[in-house]
């Protein structure tokens, strides 16, 4: 009986290890084989488009590139960069700096970028920032705005319910109270500027939501962006975050050219083409790349 078991255990080990090695060959996509650059993106449209643009730009330099979409929020992405599951991701200067440096108070674009360059953890680096920006913004319905809410300061204390992604409270709840004395009766977890958030504002479950300035939903629904006179939300220039050894000099140059060509306007247009006109992120990215001389 013992021998029987031994044979079976050995057979199992064989099958399991065979599967393990097949794993490495599989196209599952994120094995950082030598020379392959994996471009990742967070779980929202704009980031996905940017990742497609980065990937296409890197391909022009002769690099082998694969894409990995929908990775999730920043915490997961940074960990994936560090464990070499990812090579490059499109990021946003302000939020990235706040993530690397929890005590940061800088909000102005150049200062944020300078600070960011020095705060990136060992092995990771940011390339040149783009002028294109996609800031967090609090928005309300036109009716609420007409009722006298134009700025974050007008939200007052305990008057409204906010809808935002799960991490919002952790990042901003204290800050908004310090700067503007604003508190909410409740902060509902919705999603990161997606359908749940927008629908919650439309059907009145919440009265204020956190969106992003390039979102096509703002214009489409006639939402009003609240002013942020004390710049609670830092500058959010788009910037490639990468593991230094993942991309060669030519690749970095190509990414810098992409950043130079991106503007807030053309980015917002790309987002609209995907979210509203249902074009694919890859096609939209390819179109954009034609305008960049690589």
């Amino acid at each position: 009986m013992k021998r029987t078991l031994a044979v079976i255990v050995a057979a199992t080990a064989l099958v399991v290890s065979a599967c393990g090695s097949k794993e490495d060959l599989s196209g599952a996509g994120q094995q950082a084989a030598s020379g392959e650059v994996v471009v990742g993106s967070a779980d929202f449209t704009e980031n996905k488009i940017l990742a497609e643009i980065y990937a296409a730009a890197l391909k022009t330099t002769g690099a082998t590139v694969s894409l990995r979409h929908g990775v999730g929020a920043r915490e997961l992405i940074v960990q994936a960069l560090q464990d070499k599951s990812l090579g490059v991701v499109p990021e946003y200067t302000g939020n990235l700096l706040n993530y690397f440096d929890k005590t940061n108070t800088t909000t102005e674009a150049e200062e944020v970028y300078t600070a960011l360059k020095s705060k990136a953890p060992a092995g990771l680096e940011v390339l040149e920032k783009s002028d294109a920006e996609d800031k967090d913004v609090l928005v309300v319905t036109k009716a609420t705005a007409d009722g006298g809410v134009k700025s974050i300061a007008d939200l007052g204390s305990g008057k409204y319910v906010l809808g935002a992604a799960g991490e919002w409270a952790q990042r901003w709840q204290t800050k908004i109270n310090e700067l503007y004395g604003v508190t909410f009766t409740e902060i509902k977890t919705t999603d990161a500027g997606g359908p749940i958030t927008v629908d919650a504002l439309k059907n009145g479950t919440v009265q204020v939501i956190n969106l992003y300035t390039t979102s096509a939903d703002i214009k489409a629904n006639g939402f009003v962006e609240l002013e942020d006179p004390k710049t609670m939300y830092p500058a959010q220039n788009i910037v490639p975050l990468l593991r230094s050894d993942a991309v060669d000099a030519k690749g970095k140059e190509a990414l810098n050219k992409v950043s130079a060509a991106l503007t807030t306007e053309n980015l917002a247009d790309l987002v609209k083409r995907v979210d509203v006109d249902k074009e694919t992120a890859a096609n939209v990215a390819a179109d954009f790349l034609k305008t960049v001389s690589l």
């Binding site: 009986m1 079976i8 255990v9 599952a28 996509g29 979409h69 929908g70 990812l86």
Partner: protein, 219 residues
Amino acid sequence: MGDIAKYLSDAGTRAALLDMLLDHVYLSLVPLVVSVVLAIVLGLLCHRFRQFNATLIGLSNIVYTIPSLALFAIIPALIGTRVLDPLNVIIALTVYTTALLVRPVAEALAAVPAHVTAAATAMGFRPLRRFLTVELPLSVPVLAAGVRVGSVSNISLVSVGALIGTGGLGTLFTDGFRQRYLAPIIIGIVLTLVLALVVDLLLVLLRNRLTPWARVVKP
């Protein structure tokens, strides 16, 4: 319908769909194969050593109370795989499927009539040969029924992995949702169903090959 045609008209999209489909097959079927082997070993343990029985059945019951999303995401923290490694989903599904199969395997082995094993022993079969050529084949119908359920449920569970970035066809659901675009969601559901159906048919064919006597006995 027009939307779906438009969605499928893009060659890049079609290539991406094929990639997702292959990922999906890989993510759902590797666990199935591994867990069949594991379940046979564990089922045998249960069958031969009764003291394992209660423990294993209890464990497999507990496994089922863990949400798949939780199991997918906790594995890197437990065994140190990388956060985006498809291995996370594969291991999680292997755990589920093994839990599903252990009990039927143990029961099927127990249901092999004593006179059959006794006859094999009397013919001079050693335990290993007896197990592989008599007891295991006789358990195939029950095992196959379990494997069919396991394959269907794996194929449907893989989609949940989309929430952690490893979802095969499930990515179509999260993408479509964010874009408020039904076409990719519908295509994702249809492809999942077709995949489940095809795999099920293949499993039935395989079972019929492995149990030739069943055809003879059936009226």
